[in-house]
Every structure is written in C-alpha cells, then in structure tokens.
C-alpha cells in the first residue's frame, strides 16, 4: 500500500530564517507530486507540481521554491521566511489528474 509522509509535523520559525519541508511517497512509482498551502480556516492554494524527477512547475509565487531530487521525494523551501508563510502545508500525489491523495501536513508558525 502507498504511504505519504511529511516532515516535520510542525515548525515554529523566526521571520527571515530559512525553511525546508519534506514529503516522501512510498509504494507508487513516478507519481505526480503537489505542494499546497492552507491558511488557518481557509481554502487550499496549489503552490507547485511535479510530474517527473528534476522538473517542478510553479503555480503561484509566494517566495517559495520546490525541488524533486528523487522520484519519491518533494521538497519545499525558502531562504527567508515571511509572516505570511504561516499556515498548513500539504503534500499530495496522484497517478491520474485531479484524484489526489494528501499527506498529514506540516503546521508552520512564523513569528
């Protein structure tokens, strides 16, 4: 069975500090991968997607970047956090457009 793991579970970071969030999918070969951001009590904003290793497409500019160094790994990062980066970050995978399966999420608080 496929599993999706996100790390860390939660982070508290200072404004201006760097950030790296990770996502790993096991049990699926060559999935499409996605990053989402969710403000507290809000809707989901798709940030990035990747259909193959080394290739990442940006959907919206939020001073974040993403990389896919391995088939089963998706990394979200920034060198300088803003207050507006606070929220819930969700990773998802799919083998078919739209039918996505989500990880448990990482809660980020920027102070």
């Amino acid at each position: 069975a496929q599993t999706i793991h996100q790390w860390p579970v939660a982070e508290i970071k200072a404004v201006g500090s760097p950030l790296s969030l990770g996502c790993t999918i096991k049990g699926k070969s060559s999935p499409n991968l996605y990053w989402y951001w969710q403000a507290t009590g809000g809707t989901l904003q798709q940030l990035f997607y990747s259909i193959t290793v080394g290739q990442v497409e940006s959907v919206v500019q939020l001073n974040l970047s993403a990389s896919r160094p391995k088939d089963d790994q998706f990394i979200l990062s920034t060198e300088k956090l803003l207050l507006s980066h606070s929220g819930f970050y969700l990773c998802a995978w799919s083998l078919r457009r739209g039918e996505q399966y989500f990880g448990p999420g990482t809660r980020l608080t920027v102070l």
Partner: protein, 113 residues
C-alpha cells in the same frame, strides 16, 4: 480559468437528518469534479470523484454527488448524517490536460446531537 464556489461557509444539521452541501464551478470545457473532506489538523481525504458517465456518483461513507452540467453544479448529499461527519468539506475542479486543481473555500459541517 476555472473556479469553484461553495456558497455556505458553515452548515449545521441534526444527527440523522439529510444533508446537501452546495458547489458550483466555472470551467468552459469538461471538468473533473471532486469532493474532499478534512478532519481537524489532518490532510484531505477524497470522498468521491466525477470524470464522465453517470452524473450521480457514489462515494465513501454514504455520500453521493450529482453533476448537473446545465447548472454547473456538483452538490454533495447524504441521506442521514452521523456525528462523525463533522468536518470541513471541499469541492474541487480540474481539467483534462491541466495539472492545476482549484479548490472551493470549504464548508464547515457541524452535526448537532
């Protein structure tokens, strides 16, 4: 461009009553439509999906939705709700040939005992 409107931010229903959560989408082509549920502090879970064919689709836990093209709607229904159905429900739309998926603002469902 595609968009999704969930007009009800909050819905409260008594346990055992029927439920309808509304969703309207905007997309010029043939959409792929989804309902997801999010329990507190968790990721999203797929409830059901529509790609083509029978406009009434069945999902998990007794949920169903009906695609009405003429009305650009994809409302979620359940005949009898349970207290465990309390959660936030998101409607979403994507399109063939496009990796972008657009979510609605969500509807928070509260079940009264």
């Amino acid at each position: 461009a595609q968009s999704v409107t969930q007009p009800d931010a909050r819905v409260t229903v008594s346990e055992g009553a029927s439920l309808q959560l509304r969703c309207k989408y905007s997309y010029s082509g043939t959409p792929y439509l989804f309902w997801y549920v999010q329990y507190p502090r968790q990721g999203l879970q797929l409830l059901l999906k529509y790609y083509s064919g029978d406009p009434v689709v069945q999902g998990v836990n007794g949920f169903e939705a009906e695609f009405i093209k003429s009305n650009s709607s994809f409302h979620l229904r359940k005949a009898s709700v349970h207290w465990s159905d309390s959660a936030v429900y998101f409607c979403a739309v994507s399109a063939w040939g496009n990796e972008k998926i657009t979510f609605g603002a969500g509807t928070k469902l509260t079940i009264k005992p």
